[in-house]
Symmetry: D3
Subunit: 236 residues, 6 copies
């Protein structure tokens, strides 16, 4: 009933200002950050930075093959919702007004999917984001520290009447209730999304799941911090 | 700090098996249900019905004009997320396996937008859905009663540190926390989506907002039931 | 054999510089004008204003549901033709060179369709357009009067060998000849589009239909003028 | 002030059941018909044939280059309107219910454009269509004669206050009124589309243009008939 | 076993700075060049010209009708590959840095297809390109001579074990090996694309086909030069 | 001047009938095969299997970030060309008529790109393909052995006048000539694609590059065979 232990590997590939592979057993996601020296058109006259995220699953990340979005010519609603969630959550962790004129793109590519990919994309993306910020600091493009706090995410759910966290595909598939919880290092909520997949749920159940989630998120944020102890730039 | 009072008008337009205009002051949405005697391809060999929802805002539902999705050739991620939420929530209210071979489409067209459109689309869509079911019963296409319960939805948020429900555009725009709550008539949760728009929020705040939400949702469901007392088919 | 009487309601919704609901019995269209302080790229270096129109039917404006254009990712040829006709007709009614740098968008959303929607979209759009012009005058953005004349539109057709005007869906469906006539207040033609839907038609028939159309268009333009007697800005 | 004389070349290219190049001085269009032994999905359970047309201009058919529609990923509204007009007009000339299960596609590719391309596409397309019908008869796939009549088309307009027919690009560009007239061999109207490009026009003007058009259309239909005297199949 | 003799007609249509119809028996392609006084965005700050090519087949260029790319809303991979090949090959023939700020577009529209269309599009496009350059020189927009050399193209293949060049559709269809060879007037290779359609091929076969190709390409380039002897501007 | 040594890892991820990570120093590609028990529509009435390939580069596989194809809504011409090349080459290696009713999809996702990705996608895809065939044999869905031979691929080029093979990004970027060579285990050519990127090249150069390529391809095919010695199914 505990979350799966996380394995976090820095710079599994060569490029990417931040560059993280995060594994929760059979879920494995490559999270990179790319720092770009411009902002999108809608922010051109503002005085702030921008952060956006993209989420994608390789076609054979899943047990049976999933068609690529490009086959239908448009991003799937599911991918679109997830990448908006990742971007929204990570944007709270930094102060975009503390530095301007830069865009950081967080790319989350799921190499292998076994449940909770959106949560672990946030967990890995947070580290990649901080590395991107450190790159800007290292290049003297930001002076101040724009980091508000770190955020962590965990899924929770009710399977056959019992609470579970960090659901794998088998649990997720059968879950009556599906809840994604994103919190910051102070234990405050950043985002909560709960769905009665098969059965309405009581507020008691909601609280029970939130009680289970926080210690795991706290642990994940500790692990993020441990990885970030290694000073930047790291050597390849 | 109370929710706006709802005005629900049945059959404002001539067609639609169900046909509802729902108004919460300056928010005004046309919700229709259409009953189709077939199911989408992915359900062709199953033994169940289907329910889907579409959400759209007229370009001048808003204070300044919003471009139509068709101008860019694809549905906006926001509309896509909302219509998925509406469909998911309303699907819980009926048993799709109790009748097969039919699709019910709930169309929610926002004529005027002043906050909380997704919640009131659910509130109006629920009535339109029941009317669609009644149409099928009236035509002897379903014998049993597939209705599990009614669902209602309300938005809640923190504006300048204070809790509000049923946010209008001005409140929504300034909200630090934005929460959409969908519950059924028994007070159980169907969906909860909370976002720290400007500031992380504590579980105490979450509970405070949930406390405010339930009486309003209960009142909305009472109002839905009052409308549904009129027997079907109603005369035009 | 007369045209249906028109009901014109100003500001049925809150926003839109002009804002008209026009009803011809079961045909009901919301026409708004939006004034934008820029012109499209192709006019950027010219010295004139721009006027464009968009036409859309709600999915359940019709007896059986019509799929939204966005489902196929592109505007239907029918909608495209109609909105080009509306824009072309209304552009003749004003002098775009008399004021520059502004775009007026006329949105025509059919809430309920029972024939002749393109004609009544023009009839309602004309009023919304004048209100948009008055808004610009009220804001001192145009000094001169750019209005050339008002235009009105009516459909006509031959059903079972007999001439009809302002065809409803049942008549339109059976019509052997379908004619849309747009004229200005001086009785001159702005646009004429006639199609032998089921049977070629003689020039005698064409003249008979034109004879029927003008008195009705004249009456419609009188009704537009009556609505426009209320000075701008009207109170909500 | 007369129409340009038409040059009609049969089988300029090798393939196409019908295969016509039609020239009106600098306007030159390749019109082919293709006979396909199936009907579109929406006619699958009906008992009739189908006829559709496609219209396209080569990028350098015009004085300055026009981008291909494919560059924007969708057919231009102008091409779409024109090909719908061609299809609608030619469909009146045959009885689709007299033979079933076949589709005839009329392709009109403008090699060189100097005004009136839509009218001459109809004039050439009519011949290609009859050749397609003859191919079906020759293959014993239709027994009866499904041809109702031949149709011809001519443009007319007012340029600097004077009436013109078969407008070339220079005339069309300056025309105050632009009228396209499609009639059958009996002098009845099939389609009429008139637009006040720069100036509203009176019914007197409309009649004057119609008076000019009919003799030219009659002449064109005579020319079509002369070409069709050559029995099918012609030798390459 | 020889290449088909080429027929090259200059200015078959009225417009196009260069304007060539090239025929190899039943293969017939219209090649035009258009000179535009700007460069694409990606070259805006560079100091060079641009050359691009577009390739398209008319739907009835082939024995049975081929759907237009626009029907699917995107260019077919085959057309895309071919137009990239044409552009790449012709770009080698001129020095884009010798003149800046202009774009030359080579449009290759296949009117009739009987094999080897990509090669003959290059052969005709080369002449159209030089005419475009001459237009720029004639207008005093380029002083120097940017032409490096002329290029010619020929297809080759193995059919039933025997080598062929300039394959027509019947040969191409049955070819075990399909090779497209583009060379310049000095006998150097510009592009070579060989595919084992049905059977792997030895280097001996490759050399045999290259031996056959060069004399034909040399002959084609002689023919290009002969056409280009006529001084520019030619009279229409 | 030798090819980079290849590292081939089997089953780096959990799913995929075949599942290969292939590395040539900093080029790293994930190649999977997916076996599907149906064929595409165009083969439905044939008696054969189908094989297709998809190629994609992760956005941060490259030194600076590359936008995903989905951002523009269509596959890039480069990706499209490459995946067609991979599919075409691998199809020669098996006899699709030896087994029917199945589709094998080869997915090649470039995790890290440092030149020659299309060649190594073929090298890795070949192994994944054989594993897919073995899966079908293991499930008793094919009895016979449909493998014709193995194919290998290598890039070659001229950089500063000197021949190189297996070009990395830096070499590729500066190459005057760029050649991709695909051969089978018998030393016969499957595909050859050569482009004069900066300078036309002689047949002598072509032969010199082909001389260099074959021993490397032979070595690669030996390495493929060594990997395939491990019997299927392998344990995870």
């Amino acid at each position: 009933m505990n979350a799966r232990s996380l394995k976090i590997i820095e710079h599994p590939t060569r490029w990417g200002e931040g560059n993280i592979e995060i594994q929760a057993e059979n879920t494995c996601i490559l999270c990179t950050s790319s720092v770009i020296d411009s902002v999108p058109r809608f922010l051109r006259d503002s005085n702030q930075a921008w952060l956006t995220a993209e989420y994608n699953m390789l076609p054979r990340a899943t047990h049976t093959r999933t068609d690529r979005d490009i086959q239908r010519g448009k991003i799937s609603p599911r991918s679109s919702e997830i990448q908006r969630l990742i971007g929204r959550s990570l944007r709270t962790s930094i102060n975009l007004k503390a530095f301007s004129g830069h865009t950081i793109i967080i790319d989350c590519d799921v190499l292998q999917a076994d449940g909770s990919t959106r949560c672990h994309a946030i967990n890995g993306g947070q580290i990649a984001l901080i590395r991107g910020i450190q790159k800007l600091q290292h290049d003297n493009k930001i002076k101040s520290d724009p980091v508000n706090f770190l955020v962590g995410a965990i899924s929770a759910g009710i399977v056959k009447g019992k609470p579970f966290i960090d659901l794998d595909y088998n649990q997720d598939h059968k879950a009556e209730v599906d809840l994604n919880i994103i919190m910051n290092e102070h234990g405050d909520l950043i985002e909560i999304q709960g769905t009665a997949e098969k059965k309405p749920f009581s507020r008691t159940t909601l609280n029970e799941l939130l009680d289970l989630a926080w210690p795991e998120i706290e642990r994940i944020i500790q692990q993020q911090k441990a990885v970030l102890q290694t000073p930047y730039p790291y050597n390849h």
